[in-house]
Symmetry: C2
């Protein structure tokens, strides 16, 4: 399948087309070979430059690489962030590289479901490495990172100031820490802080994995081989210890549950009966309305829940 | 109802106790008086200090004030963020002030539903102002801000560097911009940037509201009266233009929909039949499994969806 067909397939899934079910049903059995890597961190940490070099290194080993860039909610931010990713564009003519942006807005069932389904398409069609790139530490971004097998959190020496933000959620999902732009002052201090913080691995299913803290400099190509070695080592570790199977099963379970919720929600709110119940209450004054929770009972009674 | 009883009531709701339905059913009709204010912005912007002064000002006008602090997901971050809020503690002995932290973890139906329900309790029990404080720009935080009537986004001159992050989502939810620590260099430049960015109000239901960009300095008490005036003016604006009624109805609708999804999800995954379907697939190799979407069909067929 060529890149254009793959792009079209992912769009059909993302847009919830009629063909979605047929497409996804056929390909799931062919998944399970790709290494799904999440790369996240604050803006300005140099994630795009790092991914760009990783693509080059992986291509030189003849690996097929896909990147799914998760964009924040706002239409306002499109420009700035795409600009940051422009340097990945040089790979667009390479049929072994596929780069796609996904935005929060048009994902039914959530962006993590959409990115998970897209990566199944890529996995089934022979991509060896699928990179999810997210920005920051929101719940949506963390949910997307959970779809990856290996998560690298990229920080810069200046991130010490963002330690509050960095701590919120990120520390629990990192398999590898990267201190990028490590020639800048403060790099050693951040490396030490992280190393001390990581005395125990907070991930209960990965307690035999020692989270490395790596120094890189994407622009001068420093530490990139090390990073790639750690990424591969984590993949091997997960296979040996059965962690990969657990993550694959968790991903399956999340896909099933998210799809069911999206489907039920769609079903309920396309039912005229249900929306009429809601409209009727909304037309009353607050003091005369059923409480939201009583209306829920009324709506679900019909469904015998 | 005294503060202790209110705290216990909110806990019963948050913990999904048997009394939740009775409590929420009784009080909804008594809501509709409070002004729900969201205050958000990056870490270090001085939100807690600002809220602290707002509490003082509102108390001097004899208004009852509640603050719901939304904490990021991580247990690791607890310390740092609570430390930042310690200065609010001096209000703890004042029966006209109620301060509560809510964490992402134990909220069934999401943190925005939990905070919305908690604010209904406070509204029904005579709190005039309910402040939601969130940190950063994740989807969860934006969802919580959507539960507020008036959203103030607090930035500092240094936030210019965070413009990417700031843009992502925040710009669409701000009713008021606050440039705090405005004595620092860069404040004028940020104010100008924001003013230029705001030539049109991106909020379709509030296109007659000119989003102000205010300068404050929480520590020297500068600009706080102005901020409070703008907050009150926005409340009056919403009442006059019917915007408040729309927001109240949207909040009602979101509560109903989130509660239904939480209830259906709970129902489905407590059904042994459904979990057996899932377990059966998880025990097969990927190449022999039903795809997630086919399993969804199988599970929902029983429910005739």
């Amino acid at each position: 399948m060529d890149i254009k067909t793959i792009a079209k397939t992912i769009s059909l899934i993302e847009d919830n087309s009629n063909q979605k079910k047929t497409i996804l049903s056929k390909l799931y059995a062919k998944t399970g070979s790709a290494h799904r890597i999440g790369i996240t961190g604050p803006p300005g940490a140099g994630k795009s430059s790092l991914i760009n070099i990783l693509i080059q290194k992986l291509r030189s080993k003849n690996k097929k690489v896909a990147v799914i860039c998760i964009d924040p909610t706002s239409p306002f931010s499109g420009g700035a962030i795409l600009g940051d990713r422009i340097r990945m564009l040089k790979h667009y003519s390479d049929p072994g590289v596929y780069i796609r942006s996904m935005a929060s807005r048009n994902a039914s069932g959530g962006l993590s479901l959409a990115s998970s389904e897209a990566s199944d398409v890529l996995d089934a069609h022979g991509f060896d490495v699928i990179i999810f790139e997210t920005l920051g530490v929101g719940q949506v971004e963390i949910d997307v990172m959970n779809e990856a097998d290996t998560v690298a959190v990229v920080l810069v020496p200046e991130s010490g100031d963002d330690i509050q933000m960095m701590k919120s959620g990120l520390i629990e999902i990192a398999d590898i820490y990267v201190v990028n732009k490590s020639d800048r002052s403060g790099a050693n201090r951040l490396t030490t802080t992280l190393t001390n913080m990581l005395e125990t691995n907070p991930n209960p299913i990965e307690n035999n994995w020692d989270i490395p803290v790596l120094n890189t400099n994407a622009l001068s190509n420093k530490g990139i081989d090390n990073l790639l070695d750690s990424i591969n080592e984590h993949f091997r570790y997960m296979k040996t210890e059965g962690v990969l199977a657990i993550k694959t099963n968790d991903r399956y379970e999340r896909q099933v549950k998210s799809t069911i919720l999206a489907r039920l929600s769609h079903f309920l709110w396309n039912d005229k009966n249900k929306t009429d119940f809601l409209k009727k209450e909304l037309n009353k004054d607050i003091s005369n309305r059923l409480s939201p929770i009583e209306l829920v009972d009324l709506i679900l009674k019909e469904e015998q829940y």
